[in-house]
Structures are given as structure tokens and as C-alpha cells.
């Protein structure tokens, strides 16, 4: 991975918002499935340009929260505004300016990388699509497998393609579900470095769900700690470390998971 040192990213842009400064605004969000309360009355905001981490164990409600933010899952109650758009009423306007990547959702395996990017370029109405695909191929080093079927790529190559798909429309809000899952440390580090630079240069707001505490500590300016569908603590990684008297977020995570932590303070992002 060491030869990928050039970062010809898009020039810095300040996303336009309908109103307010928050890219993501969630109020009293709840999702109930029959007898299961998957997300329980959570509220948070993400300022523009921030990288917000969702941390929690399996079943904590991270994926459910992301699905509701994407409009693919209808909340039981509560409201979501993204880039000023109410997701209950006007989700398509927001979706055009968002994107999403998850290792658990595939791209059509028999189609080439270029064909996959072309499909999503059309779906997001990307202008000058072939030029954009060329830019992404250069930025994410896709050239060597641009015309190979997506299903024949290695995990690291698939991650880069998934990132290219997620960036095809130059999103103002990017939702990433475990972006470095199943990657070797070298590739994982490359992805994290790339995301840091992309956010800094594009002004994009990133919401990141991860089990990798070092990743969250490195990338996120704000962290929400989820447990059984509720936000049990929140703050910057440094604030959380100080509050729990720990040296890394993994220890904070374990304190919270095993109910041996301190009572949370209210910290508004």
C-alpha cells in the first residue's frame, strides 16, 4: 500500500445547508420491532465537517440508527434532519447529497468496477461521469482493476471500490458502517489516512460506525457510546478518556459494556 501517496482530492468546498449549521440533527429517535426496542429515544447532532463515531457492541443500535439516517428504515418516532431536509418528508433531496458504504452490502459481482461506478453515477446524477470515475480511479488507485469484475477483487480492493462508490457524488454527508472491517492493518491504515484527508479537504461530514476503537479515536471528533439502543455517553475521544480515567477507547468501551463506568454527563455535540 506504500505507493499510494498522492492525494489529488477535490478542492475544498463548504456544503450549503437549507438552515442551521448541523449536517445531521436527530431528535428523540426511537425504533421498536415488535417487543424489541432497537433504538431508544436518542438525540444528537453532527456539526458540518465533523466526524462522528457511533460506538457500541453488537445489537447496540448502530446499524439501525444508520439505516434510519439513510431513510431505508422508518423510525417508530422522532425526527431526522439531514442538511436541513426532513427525512420523513423530503428524503430524496438529502439522499442526493449523501452516500453510504458498508462491507455487508455488495456491489453486483459480475459487473466491472467501472460499470458499477457508472451505475451509481447515473443514480446520483453525477455530471461529467467518466471524468469523475477517472478522478476516483486516480485518487483510490483503482486503475489496475477498473475493468475487472467486482466479485473477483480482494477485500482491500473491494473496500477501495466501495469508497469510490460512496464518493461518486461528492457527498456532503458520508455514512460509513465499519469501513475497515476484515482489512489487514496496512490497508486499514491506508483507508483511515485517506478518510482523514478527504474530510479535511472536502468539508464533508462523516458518521462512522465501528468496532475498531483505535480507528474511532483517530478519526472522530465526537463519539456517541451506544448500549441497548440508548446513548449512554458522548463527547470527544479525549473527553471520554479523561472522564473514565483510561488510556484508550477500548478500555472505555469495556467499562461501559460491563457497567463499571461512571454515570454519564450530558454533553451536547
Amino acid at each position: 500500500m506504500g505507493d499510494r501517496q498522492s492525494w489529488p482530492l477535490a478542492s475544498r468546498r463548504i456544503p450549503a445547508y437549507a438552515h442551521g449549521m448541523e449536517a445531521i440533527q436527530v431528535e428523540t429517535l426511537t425504533k421498536r420491532y415488535a417487543s424489541t426496542l432497537a433504538v431508544d429515544n436518542i438525540s444528537f447532532t453532527a456539526p458540518r465537517g465533523a466526524t462522528l463515531g457511533l460506538l457500541g457492541g453488537n445489537g447496540a443500535g448502530k446499524t439501525t440508527t444508520i439505516a434510519m439516517l439513510l431513510g431505508i428504515l422508518i423510525p417508530t418516532s422522532g425526527t431526522i434532519h439531514i442538511l436541513g431536509h426532513d427525512m420523513a418528508r423530503d428524503r430524496f433531496a438529502a439522499l442526493a447529497r449523501m452516500n453510504f458504504s458498508s462491507p455487508y452490502i455488495a456491489l453486483p459481482a459480475r459487473l466491472s468496477v467501472a460499470e458499477n461506478l457508472r451505475i451509481y453515477g447515473h443514480l446520483y446524477d453525477v455530471p461529467h461521469l467518466e471524468q469523475r470515475i477517472g478522478e476516483l480511479a486516480a485518487e483510490l488507485d483503482l486503475h489496475e482493476f477498473l475493468h475487472r469484475p467486482a466479485g473477483e477483487l480482494s477485500a482491500g480492493q473491494k473496500t477501495r471500490v466501495a469508497l469510490a462508490k460512496a464518493l461518486i457524488n461528492r457527498p456532503d454527508v458520508l455514512l460509513l458502517d465499519e469501513p475497515t472491517a476484515s482489512l489487514d492493518p496496512d490497508t486499514g491504515d491506508w483507508v483511515r489516512t485517506w478518510l482523514e484527508r478527504y474530510r479535511a479537504q472536502s468539508g464533508c461530514t462523516i458518521l462512522l460506525a465501528s468496532h475498531n476503537m483505535a480507528e474511532v479515536e483517530r478519526l472522530c471528533s465526537h463519539v456517541l457510546m451506544l448500549k441497548r439502543g440508548r446513548i449512554v455517553d458522548r463527547g470527544s475521544p479525549q473527553e471520554l478518556l479523561a472522564r473514565y480515567g483510561r488510556e484508550d477507547l477500548e478500555e472505555v468501551f469495556l467499562d461501559i459494556a460491563r457497567d463499571r463506568g461512571r454515570a454519564p454527563e450530558e454533553t451536547v455535540l
Binding site: 420491532y33 446499524t63 439501525t64 439505516a67 439513510l70 431513510g71 431505508i72 428504515l73 422508518i74 430524496f92 439522499l95 442526493a96 449523501m98 452516500n99 453510504f100 458498508s102 455487508y104 452490502i105 455488495a106 456491489l107 453486483p108 459481482a109 459480475r110 459487473l111 466491472s112 460499470e115 457508472r118 451505475i119 451509481y120 453515477g121 447515473h122 443514480l123 446520483y124 446524477d125 469484475p149 462508490k165
Partner: protein, 266 residues
């Protein structure tokens, strides 16, 4: 509108690119219609040789029925299987978090259905002309209405199938192949509605296809255009399409409530 058309094209491009890379999928499109035409074409030829001109007329109705029923079958499968391709490739999660509207997805599926139907049925029509000197286009301009009604009925049934897949997951995918075959006995493809028992005739008359095939036999055997049958077929198709569209919309919303669009599978 331009952005909508582009998204529709994006979804169609996804399927066209797949066919370009998969000759078995292309072969499958024409395989059954051509096979059906061979079986029923030779059967009709044999019967016409043995039993004379009356049987030749009946054979013509049989071939017309085979070809036109394939139009409905391929139209229905074209929508349902194109939707299933998204499930098989685990791609629905990406598609439904894009700005693609549900109606745009349906429009793309219908577009692919037209292409799939033409790819499957045209070789069979050419085969009927080449092997049995049977020219379906001799039915005249009314053939356009026959085609349109059967295609629309196929799409309506497919929307209902897609709704069931949204409700029950890929476990309902067998319906994509079988559901319209189940309507064949009531569609009066090869015999008039009057042949059915009286208590089954209302079922047949509720199907747009039964009116199309009554119209086809009138055109082939009596040389007349039955506008009353066409009016029934069009009216029923309007009702079926509205009904299927409402079911699809409600099941799509229900899938968003359950989170099925991310997890849909077995």
C-alpha cells in the same frame, strides 16, 4: 425529469451490462419461447396434415396462443427476475439509499421487461414464420393492442410478485417463475372461456388475458375485431395495475418499517 430519466437508465444499464457479460442469461431469455414454439408448432402441423383445413385453423389459433401467452409470461418474468437480480447480488441496500424513487425503479424494471420480452419472443415469432409459415403479424394492427394488454397484465402480476418478495423475502422467488402459469387455465389461451365450467368463467372474465385471447380467436377464425373484448381487457388492466401499484406501494413502505430492504434474503 432529466435526472429521473438518468436514474431509470442507470438501473437499466445495470441489467444490460449484466447480460453483456452473461451469455447463459441471454440464452435463457429465448430458450423457452423457442422450445414452446417447436413443440406446439410441430404438433399443430401434424394435426393439420391429418385432419385438414379445420384443424389448420385451430392450429393457427394454437400457435397464436402460444406466442401471445409468451408475451405475458416474459413481461411478468422480466420485471420480477430483474428485481430478484438485485436481491441475489445483495445490492438492494445501495439502490434504496440512492435518490432512486420507487416509481423510477419500477419504470426501469418495465423497460428491462420490454427488452427481455422482445429478445425472447421475437425469435419464436420468426421461427413460427420460418418453420410453419405462420405469420403472427397477419393479425393486423390489432396485434399491437393484444401485445400491449398482455404486457401490462404481466407487469401488474409482476408488481404483485415483487410485493410478495418484499413481504416474504427471497423465499417467495419461486412465484416469479410460476405465478402466471397458474393463471393459464383461466386465461382461455387455447380454448374459449365458454369451455370452462360455469362457476370458473367469472374468474376467467376477470383476467385481461382471457379477453385478449377471445379477441385473438375472433380475429383469426372469423376475421373480425372484437372491440368489446378489447375494452374489457383495457378496463381490467387499469384496475389490475392500480391494484398492483397500491399493493407494491404499501409493501414497499412496510419493508421500510421492518428494515427488510437492508436484510432481504431467504
Amino acid at each position: 425529469m432529466r435526472a429521473s430519466l438518468r436514474r431509470i437508465w442507470g438501473m437499466m444499464y445495470r441489467h444490460l451490462a449484466l447480460y453483456r457479460r452473461s451469455w447463459p442469461r441471454l440464452l435463457e431469455l429465448a430458450y423457452w419461447p423457442v422450445l414452446q414454439m417447436c413443440i406446439w408448432g410441430f404438433t399443430a402441423s401434424y394435426m393439420a396434415q391429418r385432419m385438414g383445413s379445420t384443424m389448420a385453423l385451430a392450429g393457427g389459433a394454437l400457435l397464436g396462443g402460444v406466442l401471445l401467452w409468451e408475451v405475458a409470461l416474459r413481461s411478468q418474468m422480466g420485471v420480477a427476475i430483474s428485481f430478484l437480480e438485485e436481491i441475489w447480488s445483495r445490492n438492494l441496500g445501495h439502490v434504496f439509499v440512492s435518490p432512486l424513487r420507487p416509481w423510477e425503479l419500477v419504470a426501469a424494471l418495465i423497460g428491462m421487461s420490454v427488452i427481455r420480452m422482445a429478445t425472447g419472443v421475437l425469435p419464436a415469432i420468426l421461427l413460427a414464420w420460418g418453420l410453419y409459415a405462420y405469420n403472427l403479424f397477419a393479425l393486423g394492427p390489432i396485434l399491437v393492442l393484444f401485445f400491449a394488454n398482455l404486457m401490462i397484465m404481466g407487469w401488474a402480476v409482476a408488481l404483485a410478485v415483487v410485493s410478495l418478495i418484499l413481504r416474504h423475502g427471497a423465499g417467495a422467488e419461486a412465484l416469479a417463475w410460476s405465478v402466471l402459469f397458474g393463471l393459464t387455465p383461466f386465461s382461455a389461451v387455447f380454448y374459449p372461456v365458454a369451455v370452462l365450467p360455469v362457476y370458473l368463467q367469472p374468474i376467467a372474465l376477470a383476467l385481461p388475458s382471457a379477453h385478449v385471447f377471445e379477441g385473438m380467436r375472433a380475429a383469426l377464425l372469423q376475421g373480425e375485431v372484437r372491440w368489446d373484448q378489447m375494452a374489457w381487457a383495457i378496463g381490467l388492466n387499469v384496475v389490475w395495475t392500480i391494484g398492483a401499484g397500491a399493493v407494491f406501494a404499501s409493501q414497499f413502505r412496510a419493508a421500510r418499517v421492518r428494515g427488510a430492504l437492508l436484510t432481504i434474503g431467504e
